[in-house]
Amino acid sequence: MAVLIDLVLLSMLALTALRIIFLKDLFAVVMLFGIYSFLSALIFINLDAVDVAFTEAAVGAGISTVLMLSTLALTGRKEKESKHSSILPFLVVTVTGAALIYGTIDMPPFGDANNPIHQHVAPRYIEQSPVEVGLPNMVTSVLASYRGFDTLGETVVVFAAMIGVLTLLSVRRKEDDEAPDSGLKSHRVLHVVAKIIIPFVILFALYVQFHGDYGPGGGFQAGVIAAAAIILYALVFGLPMALRVISPKFLQILAPLGVLLYASVGIYSMFMGGNFLDYNKLAHDPVHGQHYGIIIIELGVGITVFAVMLSIFYAFASQAERRNVS
């Protein structure tokens, strides 16, 4: 049954991807990309990667699509016909693809429990992590503890993205501009529904943040969801209102603080005599120490991701505002 679902989803993915090549309407390209992301999230669920599916749906289909749409609003939605030939790219792709297919022939069979990756390294995560780290969600254990350094790097990547976007697009806040024409002003229904929904979305973000140890979720997903709540607010009530609720300056302080919170756990464990990010040293009982460590660093990740995603959205959205005004 799983194979059947897999096949259907994969063929839908292939169709979506092929369609994108030939489409000239960029709006449709972006929507199809969102569909592509959702479909791959479904495949991830089918392949047991629930955390990944969650993230892909929130990021690929959510944030990325929103950002692409706001870019399109500024750059125009039609791709122009180009005369340059597509033979060379096709050749490159064929050769690369052939190399990959050649490589697959020797691959361990799909789904076989005797594959090397299920025999080495991973068994310890599966067997020992509930004891050593004490969390039922192995993905969180590996993410936050065994490979916590990767996750620190990931948080820094997000931070670097904010630096990049802020360098390129500056958020300008106009105080005097009292009655902005943005937002879906006449949509009474939307206003009411948004007001009902947004608190629940934030509540859900908190749930995902602190329940990540037990189920799918964690700081990253929570940060994205919380940012999505504010983005929804900005879309419905207009950007200036959102800027008044959470100012960009505040976000620019929040994001580095999240990174520092994460790093400070590592520094603290160094002072307690362990290596960097050694949570065992945080409390007398190593498992408690792991627990504290993971909760704090997940919070750091959540704060940074929330601040970064929101300030990136602000930066993009305020470009669109600027164009509307001029």
């Binding site: 897999d6 063929s11 993915l13 292939a14 991807a17 994108i20 090549i21 390209v29 992301s37 791959s40 991830f44 392949l47 047991d48 629930v50 955390d51 990944v52 993230t55 892909e56 690929g60 950002l67 692409m68 870019t71 500024l74 750059t75 791709e79 122009k80 790219p89 792709v93 693809g97 990959l100 297919i101 697959t104 361990p108 069979p109 799909f110 789904g111 076989d112 429990a113 594959n115 990756i117 299920h118 390294v121 995560y125 599966i126 039922p136 969600n137 192995m138 993905v139 254990s141 993410l143 990767d150 790097g153 990931e154 997000v158 993205a161 990049g164 390129l168 189920g215 990253f220 990136i312």
Partner: protein, 118 residues
């Protein structure tokens, strides 16, 4: 038949990767290039997740009475990679907005012509 069942997943993933890669290198419009880049990366994520699957296993969250779990390590790697992907996407899109403002176009051949070579 079992040969196909063992590998069909990887083959489709390779096809998807190459579709994304083709869009990246052939598209003339920068936004489409970025969309292609995302498709390329998402397909690579699928490669990783495919290798982590164990037939008959469940998601790697401890449930009483379940013995066989899929491999959590690829999931962790891909969580990180997804975040890296969105970071790159946002910087790329920000660059596109600036290019549009500076050149008035986001078609690669058009702004290539409007500057000297290099």
């Amino acid at each position: 038949m079992s040969f196909i069942l063992d590998y069909y997943n990887y083959w489709v993933v390779v096809f998807l990767m190459m579709t994304g890669f083709y869009i990246v290198i052939s598209a003339n419009n920068l936004v489409k290039k970025i969309a292609g880049l995302n498709i390329f990366q998402t397909s690579v994520f699928m490669l990783y997740i495919s290798m982590g699957k164990v037939t008959g296993g469940t998601a790697p969250i401890v449930v009483e009475g379940v013995e066989l779990y899929s491999n959590p390590l690829p999931h962790v790697l891909i969580l990180t990679a997804i975040v890296v992907g969105v970071a790159t996407t946002s910087v790329g899109l920000a660059l596109i907005i600036r290019i549009k403002r500076a050149y008035g176009t986001v078609e690669e051949n058009e702004f290539k012509n409007s500057d000297d070579a290099i």
